[in-house]
Symmetry: C2
DNA sequence: CTTTGTGCAAACGATTTGCAGGATG
DNA sequence: CATCCTGCAAATCGTTTGCACAAAG
């Protein structure tokens, strides 16, 4: 369910990215999923019905979107790069059974990172929680 | 500075791993560094002076060590797999400037992961802190 | 002596790159 | 119409695999 087209166009233009159909599609796709897909999954999804974008273009679009801060990379599994259009601070939960990744709202976890050992300047942090999701129960 | 040889041999045997020179070397190397090296860095380090181990062997040793719980994989950067012989629970700090990774003792950070949303069973969690290390100053 | 591990080289999968043609602002 | 982007295919990088030989227990 694509959201407001104008909004996406504005986001891209605002970041000085040319609005090409491919780039638009990649970002729109990411905005409409909460499953943190890999580049390959996005590509497959985009080309499901009709050919929309090439592999190289999806990769370069993701890179561009990441550089301008519209998309972030999520690293929770060995050698797998996932993407997320939710760039607001939040934590992640990963089901050890099925691999599903879910967002955890920032306030759901309380963290107090004092001023660690002297010399380390903290800029940001995030928590990764591992466990079992609802469907994988115990 | 290799630590007690006996200790390493015991650790391997205790996990039912044959004590080969290559496997011993990989684990010893990891025990003696705190920089969370990649497989390639370990390989280079081992073969610095004399050829010690082949690439394939380092990879398979790391996998074996990981399976028996002597080593863990650390994922903090895009597509980079690092290894750590410190398997006790702890957090990580990554300098955004130089990429250095440092361990943060478990008690240095206080986290309260309540029982998130119903259905999610928490097994473990860890915090990743991003910032600047001492040498990269402010 | 049985089983497991090593080394080599080939195979792989994901990501990147070079470049010519096409689209955007 | 200058610049940036796309698509293709080839190149690259880290990791894995198959297999014959060697070593460990």
């Amino acid at each position: 369910m694509p959201r407001d087209t104008q909004q996406i166009v504005r986001a891209l233009k605002g970041r000085k990215l040319r609005v090409t159909p491919q780039r638009f599609a990649v970002y729109a796709n990411l905005l409409d999923r909460t499953d943190h897909p890999t580049a390959e999954q996005i590509l497959d999804d985009l080309n499901r019905d009709a050919p929309t974008s090439s592999q190289a273009t999806v990769y370069s679009s993701l890179q561009a979107l990441r550089e301008v801060g519209l998309v972030r990379e999520v690293l929770l599994e060995e050698g797998i790069r996932r993407y997320d259009a939710n760039v607001a601070p939040h934590h992640h939960f990963r089901c050890e059974a099925c691999g599903t990744i879910e967002d955890i709202a920032w306030d759901e976890i309380h963290v107090s990172v004092g001023r660690l050992r002297p010399g380390l300047q903290v800029e940001r942090y995030e928590v990764t929680v591992h466990g079992r999701c609802e469907s994988c129960g115990q």
